[in-house]
């Protein structure tokens, strides 16, 4: 218990989430051993396959974390992701992937300008942008799945393997390294924490808080764009609503990983653990052949329950 108490408040949630991951593994394995006599959760191939699916979520969550650290939120992720995928397959060829990322950056720039300069609450502004992107994509495709295909490079990045390890996981690792480096080792990253903690103090310290907000939203958009490109590669094409299942899990992963929803604190490692936790929870629930309704209830209850545990640890200060 002393060890637990000695941890700083940024590390505690990560330890708790990690404990929960192990608990899910144990409970899931006991269940499979008793019903099927096998332990698929401990098989490397199964774990890697789950992580491949999880890497799309992981990339979205990495961008989402930048925005949540500021105390904002990016609800435009679903259709930013879809738009990036659709535009990438439409353009095709070597420019497919840059196009997808550029779409994400552009939407992020627009979000950032709206939040930083117009001072519209991000929850409203990005929600509106999400609808606008949806409308644009329906207009572009006529409401059907576009008949254009993902390029071979997109398929390679999303669905192929190198030495038995899915390439998508390497992409997730690369994105993670970039985000972690930005957060820990750049003035921009420190400014994100400062602005999220106390915007007035950051501004009066001479930090260009508007640029920080715009930069963070652009990173979030870029991550959504990368995820869209990969997802299109994974399913060989883009389709309507492909980003919808990623919004809530991405926010949940960031918050479960210990990032404060009001901004200012949280470590990137926590977000990675949060993503693994959510992916694992989903896969255990599907192994148990839980009906969809029950799965949703358990999934939501776990998120609320864990946040309650965190809340008890963090004394209300200042």
């Amino acid at each position: 218990m002393n060890f637990y108490k000695s941890l700083d408040s940024d590390t505690k949630p990560i330890i708790i989430a990690l404990g929960f991951v192990i608990m899910i593994l144990i409970v899931g394995t006991i269940y499979t051993l008793s019903t099927q006599g096998t332990a698929p959760l401990l098989r490397p191939s199964y774990v890697l396959q789950q992580l491949q699916v999880g890497s799309f979520l992981g990339i979205v969550a990495a961008g989402m974390m930048m925005v949540i650290l500021l105390g904002h939120i990016d609800l435009s992720v679903p259709w930013t992701l879809t738009a990036a995928a659709m535009m990438a397959t439409t353009v095709g060829g070597p420019m497919a992937i840059p196009t997808g990322i550029a779409v994400g950056l552009a939407v992020g720039l627009f979000n950032g300008l709206g939040v930083a300069y117009l001072r519209v609450p991000s929850m409203i502004f990005t929600l509106g942008v999400d609808q606008v992107m949806r409308g644009l994509m329906v207009a572009h495709t006529g409401g059907y799945a576009p008949d254009t295909d993902a390029t071979p490079l997109m398929r390679f990045l999303a669905a192929e393997k190198i030495a038995g390890v899915p390439v998508a996981i390497f992409v997730w690792i690369a994105v993670s390294l970039v985000i972690a480096l930005i957060l820990q080792r750049t003035g921009f990253g420190r400014s994100v924490y400062a602005t999220g903690n106390r915007e007035a103090a950051a501004y009066l310290s001479g930090i260009r808080t508007k640029r920080v907000i715009i930069g963070s939203f652009m990173l979030s958009g870029a991550c959504a764009g990368i995820a869209g490109v990969l997802l299109a590669g994974y399913s060989s094409q883009a389709y309507q609503g492909m980003g919808n299942p990623y919004l809530l899990p991405a926010i949940a992963a960031v918050v479960l990983g210990g990032t404060r929803i009001l901004g200012g604190r949280g470590r990137y490692l926590g977000t990675v653990v949060g993503v693994i936790l959510i992916v694992l929870l989903n896969s255990v629930l599907s192994i148990m052949q839980m009906p969809e309704a029950g799965r949703q209830i358990i999934y939501g209850s776990v998120i609320i329950g864990m946040l309650l545990v965190y809340g008890r640890n963090q004394a209300v200060t200042s």
Binding site: T186, R198, L204, S205, S318
Partner: protein
């Protein structure tokens, strides 16, 4: 002074905030049918006194009596029920509700359990007519009214509670001259009606004109109560000060006034600044004096690029500057640093580490390209901690774990790291212990000796006298008096702050 038993009497009342003694063993009484002025410097305990009387604060010890019976209020509405009504400095109106709804906010007239709008408007009309404001439409929203009209609605709201004791805390400071006349007339009428009015104002001529009894407070104690006309202005000022100026300030250098480095000409901003002229030379500490809220804060913030829509010119070393953000103000060319008023919300990111707070203004100085250099960062943090002798266990601890004085040192150290030419200080010693205060005085003098230009706003007159080469006193958005050398005395500063007898020679 009125005869008979007082309507409100405080006996041995003390109020402590932690170690700070805001009121200490105060006996105070006021009588029906009198207009009673309460005078004192900033922090003398006036606001605490009226907050206790109106039930906002509980006294730490002591008792309060009304009409001879002991009372204790657990919340403001208890005081209102007993007839003590306060008009606070900060307006307490809801901007998005109508005038009538605001006036009857606490106790609206009801019909079948629902608010009776007709009755509500009638009440508002009657009260507004009583204070000569019949031109205010009871249905208009508060947000659409001018500040002066809002203050009048506030007064109407207070009258609607049928007060026996009416407390006006700086209630006339936002009024236009026509409305001030109305309030004067109203106070006369209230006096005739046998209501006791407690009047807090920094405008001496108002006090002279309106009040029959004066009470002076100083450092949380009640010094004296006397009838109007028994003491001269000079006597009153002396009663308000009445303490020794400490000698714990570093010696001031004796040398001719340096050439101006920072030059401010006719700086104006909205209603707060009305044409400020000021010069600060390298190596000089120039104090900004005056009562709270005369534009000192706005002056510092506008130099730092926070205010939009400035008029006038600011030059640094002969070059005109017009920063539009703190980022520009701290950049080359201006090199300005600001230690803001409230360190907890403006100076520091409290939950972040000491190290992160220290480097927050100078990422470019500890980085190679976009990346922060860990070695440079450590070295910069260590030298800052050493230079200001900040008492820290581990620089990775949250800055909120430090004492107030050490937190303030972190704010100052953060700005020294940017190597500024001009340092703006907004009340840097507020709420910190005497020892740290002296270290900050010493540091200020050292920085001046290094050739920095320092502009220093403080509410403590002793600091102005002890630290500053020159003192400029602000009143109503202007500098009304500039004192230098031996002319910097408490009497001169207080007189200038109250703008007594200096109207003619205002700068």
């Amino acid at each position: 002074m009125a005869n008979g038993s007082p309507i409100v009497a405080l006996k041995g009342v003390s109020k402590h905030f932690g170690a700070t003694k805001a009121l200490e063993n105060v006996d105070f009484a006021c009588h029906s049918g009198s207009t009673h002025a309460i005078l004192g410097e900033n922090g003398a305990g006036k606001s605490t006194l009226i907050k206790i009387m109106s039930g906002v604060l509980d006294p730490t010890s002591g008792t309060m009596e009304m009409e001879g019976k002991p009372v204790s209020f657990s919340k403001p509405s208890d005081a209102v029920d007993k007839g003590i009504v306060c008009i606070f400095q900060e307006l307490s109106l809801v901007p998005d509700l109508s005038v009538a709804a605001n006036i009857s906010l606490a106790n609206p007239p009801k019909r079948f359990g629902l608010i009776d709008h007709k009755a509500q408007n009638r009440i508002a009309e009657e009260l507004l007519a009583r204070i000569n404001c019949a031109d205010v439409n009871p249905n208009s929203l508060i947000r659409d009214l001018s500040l002066s009209r809002r203050q009048m609605v506030e007064i109407a709201k207070a009258l609607g509670k049928n007060p026996k004791v009416l407390i006006l805390d700086e209630a006339t400071s936002a009024l236009t001259s026509k409305d001030v006349e109305t309030v004067y007339a109203l106070l006369g009428q209230l006096k005739a009606d046998g209501i006791a009015s407690l009047f807090i104002s920094h405008r001496m001529h108002e006090v002279e004109a309106l009040c029959d009894t004066l009470s002076v407070f100083r450092n949380g104690t009640h010094v004296e109560t006397f009838a109007k006309g028994t003491k001269s202005d000079a006597d009153i000022v002396r009663l308000m000060i009445g303490r020794e100026v400490g000698s714990h300030y570093p010696a001031k250098p004796n040398r001719p006034r340096p050439a101006p480095f920072l030059k401010i000409e006719q700086l104006a901003w909205e209603r707060a600044l009305k044409g400020v002229n000021l010069e600060v030379g390298k190596g000089e500490i120039v104090g900004l004096g005056g009562l709270d809220g005369q534009g000192q804060k706005e002056l510092l913030l506008s130099l730092f690029g926070v205010m939009r829509g400035l008029q006038g010119t600011v030059t640094v070393d002969g070059t005109r500057i017009a920063p539009n953000s703190p980022a520009k103000a701290k950049a080359d060319g201006a090199n300005i640093a600001l230690v803001p008023e409230d360190r907890k919300t403006e100076g520091l990111m409290l939950p972040m580490s000491i190290a992160d707070n220290l480097i927050a203004a100078s990422f470019n100085k500890v980085s190679n390209g976009p990346f922060i250099d860990g070695k440079k960062e450590d070295a910069a943090v260590r030298s800052a901690v050493e230079k200001l002798q900040i008492k820290v266990g581990d620089v990775e601890n949250a800055v909120s774990t430090l004492s107030g004085g050490n937190q303030q040192k972190v704010v100052i150290a953060k700005w020294l790291m940017t190597d500024p030419d001009i340092i703006l200080l907004n009340d840097p010693t507020r709420g910190i212990d005497v020892g740290t205060k002296q270290e900050i005085y010493k540091l200020m003098r050292e920085l001046a000796e290094e050739g920095k230009a320092i502009l220093f706003y403080t509410t403590d007159y002793a600091e102005l006298i002890g630290c500053c080469d020159r003192v400029s006193v602000m009143y109503d958005g202007r500098i009304v008096s500039e004192l230098e050398g031996d002319a910097i005395t408490e009497e001169a500063i207080v007189a200038a702050s109250l703008n007594i007898g200096t109207d003619g020679e205002a700068a």
